[in-house]
């Protein structure tokens, strides 16, 4: 008889929270198109006055659910147990950054919500909170980039006949890590591809994260299912 395991319960939260993430992304009025860093303080203040509710509700959703990535990352860590590694070092590396990755994003939601809490405060202060939110959101990639690098390395080192993840998943993680790099430099310019609303720092980075979640979700689901089958055969 097929038994629902705890891991399956965690795994199927992913599509559910992905819907919430996507919804919050569309509800936030500053993503489509992304707010420009060249806006004057008055325009930034007007944005928060005009869209107070949508900023608050979208960021409450993100604040609630961005950390839902952590249990998914722990499922990946559990799959890593079955890799042909001699030590648990690579798992410790992933655990070491798994919390900070979504917490960096959570911190940016706090700044966005503070900006929207008193939209009538001095425009220069609203701009300050808006800058803190956008820089934390855009540049706060060190932990996610590290997860990709650690995963890629773990998969390359998983040298066995039936590796936990295919080799292409390692290449894919390297590619995503590279796609995240330009966003780290978003503070250097207010215009162009590197600015926080630019092609590289906003579109490439966020599309890479979205694709990473989908692809890792699929390969994680397959690896978990294969393992459950193995467990049933042994039983």
């Amino acid at each position: 008889m097929h038994r629902t395991t705890g891991e399956q319960v965690i795994f199927w939260t992913l599509p559910a929270v992905a819907v919430v993430w996507l919804a919050a992304f569309f509800v936030f009025p500053g993503f489509l198109p992304p707010m420009s860093p060249t806006w004057s303080p008055a325009r930034v203040a007007a944005f928060y006055q005009d869209h107070t509710s949508r900023v608050r509700y979208s960021m409450i959703l993100f604040n609630w659910f961005c950390v839902a990535l952590i249990p998914i990352l722990m499922l990946i860590v559990e799959r890593m147990r079955h890799m042909a590694h001699r030590t648990p070092i690579m798992r410790y590396c992933v655990i070491g950054v798994a919390g900070a990755a979504p917490i960096a994003f959570l911190t940016s939601t706090v700044f966005w919500m503070v900006a929207a809490f008193r939209p009538d405060r001095a425009p220069a202060l609203t701009q300050l909170y808006n800058d803190l939110a956008w820089i934390t959101f855009t540049c706060g990639i060190p932990f996610l980039a590290a997860i990709c690098v650690f995963l890629a390395l773990s998969i390359y080192l998983d040298q066995q006949d039936r590796p936990v993840f295919g080799r292409w998943v390692a290449h894919f993680n390297v590619l995503v890590a590279v796609a995240l790099v330009p966003a780290g430099f978003a503070g250097l310019t207010l215009t162009g591809a590197f600015a926080w609303n630019g092609l590289l720092s906003f579109w490439v980075k966020n599309v890479a994260i979205a694709v990473w979640i989908v692809v890792m979700g699929v390969v994680l689901g397959r690896a978990t299912a294969r393992q459950d089958e193995g467990a049933e055969v042994r039983a």
Partner: protein, 258 residues
């Protein structure tokens, strides 16, 4: 040693983590001392106008230096992973190892992400009100030196584990160096109170002595972690002495043959 032999080295993950640790701390020193020149730190008694001048004088350095940390800062986890592994190798409960890992992992956001964000935001708009710039300056330096508890408890956890350990993973004197590092987190607390003097965030005690202790501590543990990797036999009993250099190849061949 052939390329293939190195790739199948049972210690390959440990060595990768160790070299990444060396790379991270080198990057950290270069970024904070040379590129951003945020160490030694700015003066806590600066007026808003002086703070504006401080940001202006470091414009490109702050933005490029902290961008490098934004990109590569996650490498810091390799040191945590190695230390966690070393505690696991001791004859103590794994609770020590996992406590250390979690304490240092959660330190990352207030301990180094905040200063990167505050300084980047302070630099990206040169025309910003100097009073607001000083707010960011305070946030950057105080969050960086004033994130204390996680490092205090983390060092004490590592110290206690070393003192209780019967596997001889680290020499006992290193436990007391952990205590010294923990004490730096105590003497830095007054930097939350004073705007000038030896206890301020740039003072002789709260900065100069602390940075020397931290430097010695970090250099020492990186060296000792290397020794732990050299000595590792993947057993659970006492950690053997480091193999002599000339016998290292023989040991590796034996491991590969088995």
């Amino acid at each position: 040693m052939t390329r293939r032999a190195r790739w199948t080295d049972p210690k390959r993950e440990l060595w990768l983590a160790w070299y990444a640790t060396v790379a991270f701390y080198s990057l950290y020193a270069v970024v904070f001392f040379l590129v951003t020149r945020t160490q030694p730190p700015g003066k806590p008694w600066y007026t808003p106008e002086q703070v504006a001048g401080w940001f202006a004088g470091r414009h490109t350095g702050l933005l490029v230096g902290f961008a490098l940390i934004f990109v590569l800062g996650g490498l810091s986890a390799t040191a945590l992973a190695l230390i966690t592994y070393s505690i696991r190798r001791m004859s103590v409960s794994r609770a020590f190892a996992y406590s250390y890992l979690i304490l240092y992992a959660i330190a990352a956001v207030p301990g180094f992400l905040f200063i990167c964000v505050a300084m980047t935001v302070g630099t990206m708009r040169p025309g910003r009100d100097p009073a607001v710039l000083r707010w960011l300056y305070d946030l950057g330096f105080l969050s960086f030196s004033g994130t204390m508890g996680v490092f205090l408890l983390g060092s004490l956890i590592w110290m206690t584990a070393i003192l209780l350990d019967r596997n001889g993973v680290f020499p006992k004197w290193f436990a007391y160096l952990n205590l010294c590092n923990a004490l730096t987190e105590v003497v830095v607390a007054p930097s939350w109170l004073f705007h000038g003097g030896v206890l301020a965030w740039n003072g002789t005690i709260a900065w100069w002595i602390n940075v020397v202790v931290f430097g010695i501590y970090t250099g020492t543990f990186i060296h000792l972690l290397r020794q732990v990797i050299l000595r590792e036999d993947f057993g659970t009993g006492p950690l053997p002495a480091a193999p002599r250099r000339d016998s290292a190849h023989r040991v590796l061949e034996e491991v590969m043959a088995s």
